[in-house]
């Protein structure tokens, strides 16, 4: 019994650390103040780390530039395209995010030689969105099984992986994704700054995409906590998640040729004409003078109606009160009568 217990305990309690990096990095206040006075904290909390997706990866597999201990000051960043020493099931090759990186680099977010310096600086890299969640807590959502299995193939294209996963289906309960609200917040981090987007060459409509999304029914439902409504990547990427292209790119999920198919992921029975409807409606109707005037008219009608009706009611009450009507809670009659059965005066 004791023999059985020990390996189980060892499996859950220890992160992969062949080079014993934690000898130094386990200390809470290990860090450095740089020339700008900014504090860098290099602490790695083992308890947190062993619950992350990378718990079985040795530090050196990502931080390859570390060749000796104690190491020199780090100048490089990690490269997610590295092959680490994990061997995926049904494969003899070492694992790498190279496949997803290729998709990402070809997307609108990938850096290209034509980009200006400013554009290069603005484009995100992997860790901009995917921090190994050490200190930033992400509230996670359960993903439907079919979608989770499709996502597995992003990194595990080998045949048999899906079957293997279905075989050990209890793992699926652990497969999670970000909440739609968090995805919107993540994209909005850059994309809601419409001035910056315009400077980077976005079209006026694309520059206000976050604002118009928040005014759309999808945006409102996501904000109110819907689990079904579309967030950014529901439409702008396939299940590979990183293949976000501009809409004139034929590979884009929002390209004219593909968009009907994209809508049908949720609006299953819609026809090809469905795509005519703007899914990012202009928030203040400034595009169309007719709709703008209509909006103005309806607002005036609202205020006009209420003010005139309530005004009439108050005026009416004023007039009736002069004749002696009163607010009475009981007895059901509100006219002032000194003597209810008084005989009328003779005229």
């Amino acid at each position: 019994m004791a023999l059985l217990m020990v390996p189980l305990w060892a499996l859950t309690a220890q992160a992969a650390d062949k080079m014993n990096c934690l000898m130094c990095h386990k200390h809470r206040y290990i860090g450095r103040i740089d020339a700008n006075g900014k504090l860098h904290n290099y602490n790695v909390d083992e308890t947190m780390y062993r619950h992350t997706v990378h718990r079985n990866i040795d530090c050196h597999d990502c931080h390859t530039y570390i060749t000796k201990i104690p190491h020199d000051p780090v100048t490089q960043t990690v490269n997610c395209a590295n092959s680490c020493h994990i061997k995926p099931p049904f494969s003899q090759e070492t694992f790498s995010h190279q496949h997803i990186m290729t998709i990402f680099n070809g997307s609108a977010h990938g850096r290209t030689p034509e980009d200006s310096d400013r554009m290069r600086a603005a484009k995100p890299d992997c860790i901009f969105c995917h921090q190994n969640p050490l200190y930033s807590k992400i509230s996670e959502e359960n993903l439907p099984e079919a979608e989770a299995l499709r996502r597995c193939q992003n990194c595990h294209p080998q045949g048999g992986v899906i079957q293997a996963f279905q075989h050990i289906a209890h793992r699926l309960r652990k497969k999670t994704t970000r909440a739609p609200q968090q995805i919107v917040a993540l994209c909005a981090k850059c994309h809601q700054d419409s001035e910056r987007m315009l400077q980077l060459g976005a079209s006026p409509r694309a520059a206000e995409a976050v604002e118009s999304y928040n005014h759309s029914i999808h945006g409102k439902l996501v904000r109110l906590g819907s689990k079904k409504a579309a967030d950014c990547i529901s439409c702008h990427a396939s299940s590979a998640l990183h293949d976000i292209y501009k809409k004139d790119n034929p590979k884009a999920s929002i390209n004219k040729a593909n968009i009907a198919q994209t809508c049908r992921q949720c609006h299953a029975k819609t026809g090809d004409w469905f795509i005519d409807i703007a899914v990012h409606p202009s928030p203040i109707h400034k595009d169309n003078p007719i709709i703008y005037l209509m909006s103005l008219f309806l607002q005036l009608a609202t205020y006009g109606t209420v003010i005139s009706m309530v005004g009439l009611m108050l005026f009416e009450t004023f007039g009736r009160r002069r004749e002696g009507i009163r607010l009475i809670l009981f007895n059901g009659s509100s006219w002032h009568r000194p003597n209810k059965h008084a005989r009328p005066k003779r005229g």
């Binding site: 109707h285 009706m309 059901g332 006219w335």
Partner: protein, 329 residues
């Protein structure tokens, strides 16, 4: 002015013309007597209503519309104002937005059913009355020129220029206006709501429908369907907010909070109106009541007797009437 300040007793008729004319102070009803215009200050009223006003169908329809409207507003308003702090809390009362949307659709369906039910009731009732030769368009919601005259008359009364309120039919000017507004509002909300629920059908049919009517510059850079859907998004939300504000700030106040109706007008539950209210605001309908309800005729005759306005011999001519009146007063 002077007359209206003295509320103690019915006023004597100033002249013969004023007393017996269309706008006269006294109205003679055969077998009842001369009813003074301000008799409403002297009648007994049961708060739960004395005289019939709405059939059971109308009461049921009002209740259905009332309940569904509140639920529709409670599930729709947070979506319109989704960026305000209370929106999420209100939606959570319904068990989350995905359920609240279904509540909204089901309520909308019940409301549409109620509207059809109402139209069937009104049309059917009209046909029955036509067949019995009882139909009188003056007792319906159909607007007339008299409503405009009544409105100005009422304004003069509120200002103190006219001594009494106009003699109005079963539905007065503001009720007719409100009824038309409800008709228009429900039409807009139901059309726009259906367009929002079935965008695919809109996108398919609209270019063919309005594309032939509207010149293309109206829709600008968008397609006809995009233009129509944007219009519908705007109309549904703004019209709903208008309806809600009018109901909350005018309808409820006007019906339950003004003096004479406070603290609650029971008509929407009992379908009956108080005698006091009927005579004050719907005098001509009260005359119909007198004709149709023997008990009411009896009550009014007794009251007039008590007030020494009991029926006398029916006057053979105006001269006799004038002498009669001069003798009484």
């Amino acid at each position: 002015m002077e007359q209206s300040l003295d509320t103690g007793t019915p006023k004597p008729a100033p002249t013969l013309d004023r007393s017996m004319g269309e706008d006269g102070y006294y109205t003679f009803v055969d077998g009842v007597g001369h009813i003074p215009r301000d008799i409403y200050k002297h009648v007994q009223s049961d708060p739960r209503g004395d005289l019939p006003r709405y059939s059971i169908h109308i009461v049921i329809q009002h209740l259905l519309i009332f309940i569904t409207f509140i639920l529709l507003a409670a599930t729709g308003l947070p979506i319109f104002f989704s960026d305000l702090f209370w929106a999420k809390h209100l939606i959570d009362l319904f068990g989350g937005i995905d359920i609240a949307r279904w509540v909204h659709r089901i309520c909308a369906f019940i409301m549409m059913f109620t509207s059809i039910y109402h139209v069937v009731t009104v049309v059917g009732g009209t046909i029955v009355k036509l067949l019995r030769h009882e139909f009188d368009y003056k007792r319906t919601q159909i607007p007339r020129l008299k409503d405009l005259q009544d409105f100005f008359h009422d304004i003069k009364y509120f200002l103190g220029i006219e001594p009494f309120r106009p003699k109005m039919e079963k539905f007065m000017y503001k009720q007719k206006l409100h009824y038309m507004a409800v008709f228009y509002g429900s039409f807009v909300l139901m059309t726009a709501g259906s367009a929002l629920l079935f965008p695919d059908i809109v996108a398919k049919s609209i270019p063919g429908l309005i594309g032939k009517v509207l010149p293309h510059w109206v829709v600008g850079n968008d397609s006809y369907s995009a233009f129509f859907q944007d219009l519908v998004r705007l109309m549904h939300a703004d019209e709903a907010v208008l309806a809600l504000i009018v109901l909350a700030f005018w309808h409820w106040m006007n019906v339950h909070f003004v003096p004479g109706r406070f603290p609650l007008q029971w008509a929407f539950l009992t379908g009956r109106i108080t005698r006091e209210h009927q005579i004050e605001e719907h005098f001509l309908e009260y005359l119909n009541n007198l004709r149709e309800i023997p008990e009411e005729r009896e009550y009014m005759r007794d009251l007039l007797k008590e007030l020494s306005l009991a029926p006398r011999e029916q006057p053979a001519s105006d001269t006799i009437l004038a002498s009669e009146l001069s003798r009484i007063h």
